[in-house]
């Protein structure tokens, strides 16, 4: 391999191979990159504002989550666009087959570096305050709200036991979880074995179910819906809990108040009997003989306690 040598950068050398970017002292490049940045930002924002990447939203608390997510997307676009604009422009403009000379020896630019540091610090602080802190405090306030309904969820490898203590109803590994729309519901979560987590994608919030303690999460469903129509309506275990983790989910059905009362008082047993419980299996390998999201099989059904 031949030894390569590079000439020292000489701004006055009119024979310089890359003479075209001299003279203007790079100002033209700055403008061009700025235009590219603006275009990329506009395209990005158009994409972010014009598409909905989020699944169905069906809880009031989830609005805080989605608001934070959307705002962060909006903020991200110009930040990413800036770096990408410099990257793309530089590669397109200044790529060479073999460098025959060095570039300009710009070791730093005080103003630009300081500006970058200050702007990025300010942006981080801004994001911390809003949507971070504001959203967090709003969610904390929601969590304090007086619940209309308390649901106790006990995670067991690998199913959920549900009970409505105010109504004296307890269900072991029920086939579905029915909830009333518009009611503020506090879920009290615990586990009998390992750590699991409560997550209904349509409700957004997530909370771990930890053995030996009770964690709560408050949700106010805002839309009726059911797993049958939309898989965002499911109580999915979201913390790795062993073999059956992937299929440890409980279909959720959000219904009108009256229908919920009816279901709770036992009249709702009708449709539930038709839909048998999921087989979460007890064996070590859930996959043996299993085939996908198999909803058939023997369920443990539900046990009703004192009614009234």
């Amino acid at each position: 391999m031949t030894t390569l040598t590079w000439g020292v950068y000489d701004p006055d050398d009119k024979l310089s191979v890359l003479e075209r970017d001299m003279g203007s002292d790079g100002r033209r490049d700055i403008v061009a990159t700025g235009v590219l940045w603006a275009i990329l930002t506009a395209l990005g924002e158009w994409a972010v504002l014009g598409t909905n990447m989020l699944p169905t939203l069906a809880s009031r608390q989830g609005e805080e989550v989605d608001g934070a997510f959307r705002l962060l997307m909006i903020y991200s676009v110009p930040v990413m666009a800036l770096v990408l604009a410099v990257l793309f422009y530089s590669v397109a403009r200044w790529r060479v087959e073999t460098p025959e000379e060095d570039g300009p020896p710009i070791a730093d630019h005080k103003g630009f570096s300081r500006g970058w540091f200050i702007v990025s610090s300010a942006l981080a602080l801004l994001l911390f305050i809003h949507p971070g802190l504001t959203g967090l405090l709003a969610l904390a306030e929601e969590a304090e709200a007086e619940p209309d309904l308390v649901v106790e969820l006990t995670a067991v490898q690998w199913h959920w036991d549900v009970s409505f203590p105010e109504h004296g109803v307890t269900m072991e590994n029920p086939p579905e979880l029915v909830l009333p729309v518009g009611a503020t519901i506090r879920f009290d979560l615990t586990s009998t074995d390992v750590i699991h987590a409560f997550w209904v994608p349509a409700f957004r919030l997530k909370q771990d179910a930890i053995p030996g303690q009770t964690n709560s999460v408050t949700i106010t469903p805002t839309e009726v819906g059911s797993y049958g129509e939309d898989d965002a309506f499911r109580l999915q275990c979201a913390e790795l809990c062993g073999t059956g983790h992937a299929r440890m989910f409980l279909p959720v059905r959000v219904v009108e108040q009256a229908e919920f009362q009816q279901w709770l008082s036992g009249a709702g047993m009708g449709p539930m009997e038709g839909m048998e419980g999921m087989d979460m299996g007890e064996g070590d390998d859930m996959g043996e003989g299993g085939d996908g999201m198999d909803m058939s099989g023997d369920g443990d059904g539900m046990k009703m306690g004192d009614e009234g």
């Binding site: 391999m1 934070a68 530089s90 070791a107 949507p131 997550w199 919030l205 999915q236 390998d285 996908g292």
Partner: protein
Amino acid sequence: MATTISGTGAPTIGSRGLPFAFRGLLWGAVGFLLGALLTAAIRVLLGYPAFALEPVVVVGYVFGLSGWFLGVGVWETWAKGWLGRETAVYKPEGWRRYFGFNMDHKVIGIQYGVTFIALFLIAGLLAMFMRAELMETGRTIFGPAGYNRVMSLHGLMMVLVAVTAVPGAFGNYIMPLQLGAEDMAFPRLNALSYWFWPPVAILLLASQFVGGWDTGWTGYVPLAVVNRPGQLFYALAFITAGLSSVVAAVNFVTTVVKMRAPGMTWRRVPIFTWSILLTGILSLLFTQAVAVALTMTILDRIFGGAFFDPVMGGLPVLYQHIFWFYSHPAVYVMVLPSLGVLLEILPPFSRKPLFGYKWAVGGIIGISALSATVWAHHMFTTDIGLESKIGFMLTTEAISVPTGLIFLSAVGTIWRGRLWLKTPMLFALAIVFNFLIGGVTGVFLSDVPADVTLQDTFWVVAHFHYTIVGAGIFGLFAGIYYWFPKMTGRMLDERLGKIHFWMMFLGFNLTFLPMFWLGLNGMNRRIADYQPSLEGVNTFVSLAGFFLGASFLFFLWNAIVSWRKGEPAGDNPWGSRTLEWQTTSPPPELNFDGEPEVTGDPYGYGTDGPAHAVVHTETGGDE
């Protein structure tokens, strides 16, 4: 110091007979048996049945590890000295030098590099199996139990690769050269840190014969306590890897602080060496925490659970605090050296000085310092209180500022440069692209309101692959393409390199970009099966993943062929100014044919200022 060990007239060993690594296996097996018998004897004395798998394995392993080390060469080269007897040096020629307790940092760098490329390819193959399972809903090839095992093994192996590969290969090989040193500060410790790894590999392999484990690489309790015995092997392997990290870190930090050539002031230390220094400090301090967490897991498994079993008064969340106290700094251990590689490559391939050198160094130091304060952002959905959430959200979002300084330095360096798009440069530019996506998506996870839905979904999977693969592993390959000529004396084939790059870059982005969408739309992490509505995207991701996997075949072919028959590289094929290029490829035994003296900026491209360094030869003239 190197001269006192390799330079004196100590007898040399290892040039005949079976390589020492085989003797290490034998002595290790003997040690294991001794430990196992001892355990059985003690158990009988205490009135328990003689055999119980886990106590036998733990004690047997400690003895086996000692036997392994003595066998692989510690006995002759080191331990005899502890008894007041004369030690020898393991210094065979040819291939044998890689199979024993060799103390040459250049040999150790290659040992690390080859070992970790192999582990990377194996763990990558496991990822192919995972994507095959996730290609369709339902059982595709091995179902949930098999999937969880493979996923866990993939996770731990890749974490170990990401933590170790770049510091192991280039921290060992290149960093002393960049300093103008003739070896690392502690050559024996250096060899020791490498030879911890074969036992780790053996443990991971052995774990699969007792059912493996299925907690992922994080090993959360109580699952890790109630799990099958494979979990114990996981804990032992992880602790062993941690010991290696601590030993290596003592060496790295001492070397950078104490072994710099004359004239190498802190302002002249190359940026890659800076990244290794800070990586070393993080490993040195925080690795101890993961050892504590895993030891507590082992004790709970053997003695029945007071740490983590709530029935006995234990606290499962305590594990997460200790674990992440190490493991969050550890993710910066995975990324910082590769960011160092990135900033090391940009100047010579842009023919410009590193932009904002002191901002970049400040960025590396800032990331390291803040990394100790962010661990509980992995725990926003546990029971930590509101105040903790606020604090950890603040520190986590603050980390974006020093990280931004790395980007400042990168874009400032390529601006108005002479961009020479050779393969190392392509990988470096890809890091900027990937790490940008990885960094920005991390901000979403630091934000508690967004995190509560994104936590433990494929959004997280996509995010950390964008940082740890997109920056960490891309940095490994950038470093390989950049320094391979120095380490082997031969160039890698540029055409195959470009094919590898474009396949890897496209395959990587096509695989992991859709995962953000999957995570948002209800695909939680670590699952063998998912909702039917996600099948189309998952099939696409799997196909892209296979394409990504295939790219490494081109690399492997390139590396093997070029190592043997590649074009000779010469001393400095890239026209770089740092010290590792001011010597032959590969360098002589003591690295330089004279005494290096640092006289200027390591990245003074485009200036007619003094060279970064001159090497004074024995005769007194400058090269």
